[in-house]
């Protein structure tokens, strides 16, 4: 027994030494990476030593980051940690739940401070000011609400549904129509959200389009779309945010309209770029495949169609609208899409210049609850 213990102790030294030397050698021999696609961020490079940075401790902090960021087999270690977490029964990481069916569901963060009050005041002011226009407010519940049945047992999460109820109540006396998607989503059998991403699927957006059609008198189900698979290996932001490696991939669809002769021209106003397509296929080769819709987020997009009915729509939106807006091209002659998070112009001037006669505010609940940009554009 004593001999075996002695063997064990000596072997421990050799084993640890071998492990350390192997990893150190791999560290020295592999080239430093500049960017981590998994995490979507630049990795720390070897910092340069200066007297000032060393005395302030900044050099040391960066050097420690450098070692961690460039540690060999980094993604493998992250996957190992995530696997151990799952074995140990952990179902939440980085504000993301691992659902019972393996789908990832983002938690809802209640608005903090006076964020709710300020955004509400700006919304009320805007909707009242433009009372003469037809206005629609569509705040989309995220998977947290619509797929509550998939959450892990007893999950403690933010009250998104309560937030939507409160907002609907507080906007009830404005001239805008509130569109509640929850009943339609609850009734649907379709996969409304990506399993690896926080966005809704085009299927979800289509159901929302049918709901908006009822309220705004759009063509709705009268247009026969063809559901077209764009990608079957989409791994979205929630995979990155949580670190959970579920091995799941999502399908990404576009709903293509029938060949009805309607032409569209998309103008990315800030960039001075024009396109005949509502899609940008090059994004399907990147990690952020959702950006295939309307080329991701832009401050202002102008969509002109050959539909000649005099209807001109302003959409104030977050990224949920990107896969939704293509449905509107059979209903409006002109759509002005503004993303207040990037838009720096004067909204009132823009609305007057473009002859807007309808508005749609389209956000998902999580983004709107945290948003601080919309109120700057629409407040008094």
């Amino acid at each position: 027994m004593k001999k075996k213990r002695l063997f064990f102790l000596r072997a421990t030294v050799l084993l640890v030494l071998a492990l350390v030397l192997t990893l150190d050698a791999a560290f020295l021999l592999t080239k430093d990476r500049a960017f981590s696609p998994t995490e979507n961020r630049s990795l720390q490079q070897r910092p340069t030593l200066t007297l000032a940075s060393a005395l302030s401790g900044r050099y040391e902090a960066r050097y420690d980051d450098y070692i961690s960021d460039q540690f060999p087999f980094r993604d493998g270690w992250v996957a190992l940690k995530s696997a151990m977490d799952r074995l140990a029964g952990r179902t939440e990481s980085g504000g993301v739940f691992l659902g019972r069916d393996g789908s990832l569901i983002q938690d809802f963060a209640e608005p903090t401070g006076d964020n709710y009050v300020q955004t509400l005041a700006a919304l009320r002011s805007f909707l009242t000011r433009h009372g003469a226009l037809a206005q629609y407010v569509m705040i989309v519940p995220t998977a947290l609400t619509a797929r509550a049945d998939a959450l892990p047992a007893f999950a403690v999460h933010g009250d998104e549904s309560g937030y939507l109820d409160r907002l609907a109540r507080d906007l009830a006396d404005t001239p805008a129509q509130w569109i509640d998607l929850r009943p339609a989503f609850a009734a649907s059998e379709a996969q409304l959200y990506y399993r690896t991403d926080h966005h809704w699927t085009t299927d979800g957006a289509y159901i929302a389009y049918l709901e908006l059609s009822k309220a705004a008198n759009l063509s709705g189900a009268a247009t026969a779309y063809e559901r077209h698979l764009l990608s079957n290996d989409f791994s979205g932001t929630l995979t990155a945010a949580s670190g959970f490696r579920t091995g799941q991939r999502d399908d990404l669809y576009a709903y293509l309209p029938p060949d009805d002769g309607v032409q569209t021209v998309v103008t990315y106003v800030g960039e001075n770029a024009r396109s005949a397509s509502l899609y940008r296929a090059k994004h399907l080769d990147t990690r952020d495949q959702y950006a295939v819709f309307l080329d991701g987020n832009h401050p202002e997009i102008k969509i002109e169609t050959t539909v000649d009915n005099g209807r001109t729509l302003l959409v104030l939106k977050d990224s949920y609208a990107n896969c939704f807006i293509p449905f509107l091209t059979r209903d409006y002659g002109k759509i002005i899409v503004v993303d207040p998070r990037y838009f720096t112009g004067d909204l009132e001037v823009l609305m007057a210049a473009e002859g807007i006669n309808e508005t749609l505010i389209l956000y998902n609940a999580t983004t709107l609850a945290a948003d601080q940009a919309l109120r700057l554009d629409i407040g008094e």
Binding site: K4, F8, T12, L15, V20, T38, E60, K81, V156, G243
Partner: protein, 461 residues
Amino acid sequence: MVFSSLHFLFIFLPLVMLLHTLLPKRLKNPVLLAASIYFYAWGEPVYVGLMLFSVAFNYLTGLQLSVRHRPSARRAALVSAVAVNLAVLGFFKYAGFIVDTLNGLLGLRLARRELPLPIGISFYTFQALSYVIDVYRGKARPQKRLVSFAVYITMFPQLVAGPIVKYTDIEAQLDDRGATLAQVGQGLERVILGLSKKVLLANNLGLLYETIQAAPARSVLTAWLGAAAYALQIYFDFSGYSDMAIGMGRMLGFTFLENFDYPYLSRSVTEFWRRWHISLSGWFRDYVYIPLGGNRVGAGRHMLNLLTVWLLTGLWHGASWNFVLWGLYYGLLLILEKYATGALLERLPAWAARACTLLLVTLGWVIFSNTDFSAMGRYLGSLFGIGSAGFADAAFLYHLKSNLVLLILSIACCGQGLRKWQVRLSATVPVVGLALNAALLLACVAFLVYGSYNPFLYFRF
């Protein structure tokens, strides 16, 4: 530098160990000293000066005591040394606290200087004091070699979080030491154990406690779960650090005394403090409690001695009133055990005595962990149903379910069984023992790498 970092584990430690092992005896101390200063300077470059001042000052005091023979001269040297050490500690650790308290009490508006606390100052100051006092008492011979003395104060394994090593315990090893391959293996085994406690248990328990602590309201059961998580976290965090220190000391050829002895198995608070942070309670016993007269005085004086020692012990843990309260809480508990409840406790069955002790210690940790008194009040209240969100809630079940494996493992590690099994395993089927240690080490690396996993969440923008 912290032990639980990839930089320390994969670059610093292997390099230092290789150099220290391969270089001839006369170069071991210079290498260890240089490494320790580098270790301290990493992230704390400015305060290296303060630490080196402490080294030089106490070294000179030791020399002075060795040449002075008149009692009054020796006493003067001691008093001035103690005063300088305590003044430095007081200035850097307690100045802000004292100013805040004076301002609060007297309505003054003294300016507060925000100085970051020099890491490890409480530990190395106490080590220096133990040296000076022991030399004064004739229990230790003054160290003539500056480098050897500097190694004693600055040695990186115990520099930032103890144990507080008494000079007399390692006096001989400072100038003559070595480690066999098997001893290095023993040290490594201990380092892996400590690292696992810190990274796999304590850090994750900390996340659980933070979540529960941050909630605006919690049910009674959730509050107890949080308190238990904190009690486990602080034990594995601290004893994990001590394990690593003892293990690294072993690899270098030092034998540090044990600092924790399964404290949560204690049957009384008195016993708990014999088994928790042993080097600190030992320090206060030798240098404060016994000089005050210890228990060889009248009951009244004895109680005062206990309260004094525990007030100071509380303050040592941090410059904030909750630590004072925490210290006095233990002072009172120890007085009660000595004069009233101790006999009762002895008659209880072992499990009941353990449960009582654990309960009192857990409540103590709630005081310890809340520097803000209103938050402390809210938390203590919610433990007993005052202002709590009911008795049980979904959050309790969710946290319990998500952390069940962690909690079971942690509780199991509070006893001696698992560790004994691990040692027996290594001596009967060494290959399995090796595999277990390798698995623990790999798991720690995965958690450490994950610690820097920081995805840029582009959907926020």
